[in-house]
Amino acid sequence: MNWGGFHTPAFAWLFLLFIPLVLFYFLKLKRPRQVIPSLALWRQVLQDRRVNAPFQKFKRNILLILQLLLLLLLVLAALQPFWRGNQGSGTSRRPIIIDCSASMAAKDHESGKTRLEHVKEKVAAIINGLGPGQELSLITFTQYARKRTEFTGNKTTLHKALKEIEVEDVPANVEDALRLCQALAKRFTFNTVLLFSDGNFAHSVDVDLSFTLDYQRIPFGGDNMGITACNAVSNSKGEWSVFVQVEGSSKELKSAKIEIIQDGVKKVEDSLLVGKERAERIALTIPGSKASTIEVKLVPEGEDVLATDNQAWLQLPLNRPLLVYVNEAMSAYKMALKGIPGIAVVTDKVKFSAADLVITDDPNDKGILTRTALWVGTIPEALKKQVTVKQENAAVVDWMREAKLLQHVALDDVIVLDNPQAPDVRDEVWENEGYRVLVSGAQGPLLLEKNVPGNHVYYMLFHSDRSTLPYRIAFPILIANLIEEARHDAGLSETLPGRTGVVEPQLGTVGGKYTFEGPGVRSTDVTADEAGMISGLTASKVGVYKIKGATETKVVTASLLSSSETRLDAVEKIQFKETLSVAASGKSEKADVPLWTIMAGLAFLMVLIEWWYYQRRPEGVE
């Protein structure tokens, strides 16, 4: 069994210093002369049995022995000995993945430390045990992975990076971290990746591993309770039906109090009994006559290791009719919209600079701000080089039936007179340009969807007026689907809470300057894009955030709302592609313990002992 070793065995030549030390000791042994009246007593002392005892003989050469010990300790310190932990020997590079998702903030009630703090202690020990030539790279992950350091052996850098790691109130996604390691493996050589986590992530991962994964699961648990779902659905009376779900991790039922507050006014206060096998659901109705903020607070009455899931927010908009702008010339659409309740159709684009849904074939309508749009007979600017339209008959070849817009829409007997041509363009090109083909013709796409987060923009490459579509039953269904999607995008059918992580894009003014502020976030400046969307904001902590503009301030909320994080589920075994799986390691990771500091400390102690021995007050002196 290999107990330890030396990081710098080349310094063993320093043992040769013992030779000059011994030589100099005996050559330089010139004692100071001390004249005394008579040697009589001292001769008797030296003839004493105690003076000639083995220990006293040892004491006669104690200076030499102390110096030899001192040199031995210094040479050993120079050799940098270490006590081997259970890390692989000869490992020069190793990425360490640290989970800093919400559940890592769970506190152990015995030690009072969070799971992340335990992990940080372990990683700090590994950093301290780094020998010459050994390098680490620290990677953290929540929903996304982040490389904190490059491969480095600089302990100061690693400790600094480790210190900066904090828990983010976000669910974990280990797959991203493993993909990052996989990418690292293409540039650097390493055999093992160390993963520190509480196992609160999906048990199945779609990654190919080219390295050995050492999965170190944090062992301690504890009971937790939290809000795992919260949303609101609009009903036919113009009200919001608010729905809250509370779950727990305890096998036994635990009690808690829940409060639902609307704009600072307590609406509901109730008691709950929640366990691992029993989730509680609470529903209440809130009038939709005005926009309001709903705050849900959970107060567990027993142990609760995670505090961040005890609060959730929901922003309810005014329950109003959907504002639909239709170009004046598009009478077929106006006719189709007439039969749909809960919408307001407008045609005056001067009066309405913003709408929930825009249906138009006029390029001049681009200035109207909206989340959902259907551009009829329009080819997107980015695709004008790839697509040309010929005036000839064309038929629908195929369409994506699973797309929301095309649910229950049958297009097989629709004839179009505009035939978009893009014969040499492959599907990847549309994807690369950010489009998805929803309806395909014989020689090119007929309907495209632009991928914009939070938005739904559709381009009908043929004009419906030059097709049989308005005369088919598919047309009103298509319009009804579009309205439903617009209602959803405008938050009028269902309101979902803001979650931690990436903030949902918010509609602002085109090119407007905004400042993003909130818990755990330094004030960040952001500019709205050409569509007026404010995006790319991250809310890593649970709480209320503000997006301050010149004229308006938008409030967004971020809640954890993760069943897996609240239930503190732990994956024992990560299932990879094919049959590969990695189980949590049974033995805890122990770093190599460097011993040079102990050697140096002992050497210093030896110097002190030597100094004391020769400078102490002589025994027997009164």
Binding site: I36, L41, V45, D48, V51
Partner: protein, 297 residues
Amino acid sequence: MSQSQQLTSLLSNATLNRLQHMRLRPFRRFTNKSRGQHEHGRGGSSNEFADFRDYVAGDDMRNVDWNIFARLNRPYVKLYRQEEDMHVVLLVDASKSMDFDGKFLKAQQLAAAIAMMGIQATERISIQAFAGQQLQRLDPCTGRASLQKIFSFVERLGVGGQVPVEKGIEQLQRYHKGRGMVVILSDFLTMNADLKSAFNRLFSTGLEIYGIQILAPVERNPELTGDLRFVDSETEQLLDVTAVGGLLEIYHEYRSGLENDLTVLCQQRSGRFISVDSTETVEGVLFDTMKRKGWVK
């Protein structure tokens, strides 16, 4: 008092004045029967009253206490202390080992002081110093007239050579006559010394043995550490000692053992023993140590 008016350079006149009123206190009072001033047992003819006893036929009627006879109607005889001549011998170690840290000067001072006390008590004083081959000796003398002679002899004593204590005692025995007491002033640091037989011989000649050990600070409380090469100041022999600090405890045991041995040797021969530091003042030794130990009164 100016230096020119000093009786001796060894002791101040004030010390000498105090010494005039002090007397040596031997244990058994080996005395010569010739009349002297040294108070001996009862039945003497001095003026100092000692005791009463019943009158027996033949007693001198002049010694009957008539006052008691008048009260008790029984004759009692008054007894007086006998004052006899006592020989005080001062044996001074003048070997090279005494020439260290004022040891010999202390021996000179104490010798002069004891001689002063003896002269004041009209004892016979003789002084002998052993140093190398040369014998330094002052024949017995008595009376105040001899005081100056004694002081100048002590002042002129030379130091040097290698003479162990028992050799000095042997030299003393060659010339000495008479009973009394001998005061040996030495450091008593002699290898394998047979002091017991030397003391026995002295005691058998009728001398109570008093020892004054004079040690230098480096002998009494050596504050030494590390590895040292000791040089004997008398013989110039060398002795290498390692880690002296660790041996001091044993050294002190041996030094205390030597003191105890000498004390026992002296007490068994009706004498006394003290050990003094060469840096201690002579007044401290005379008026404090020696008085407390019962050497003088």
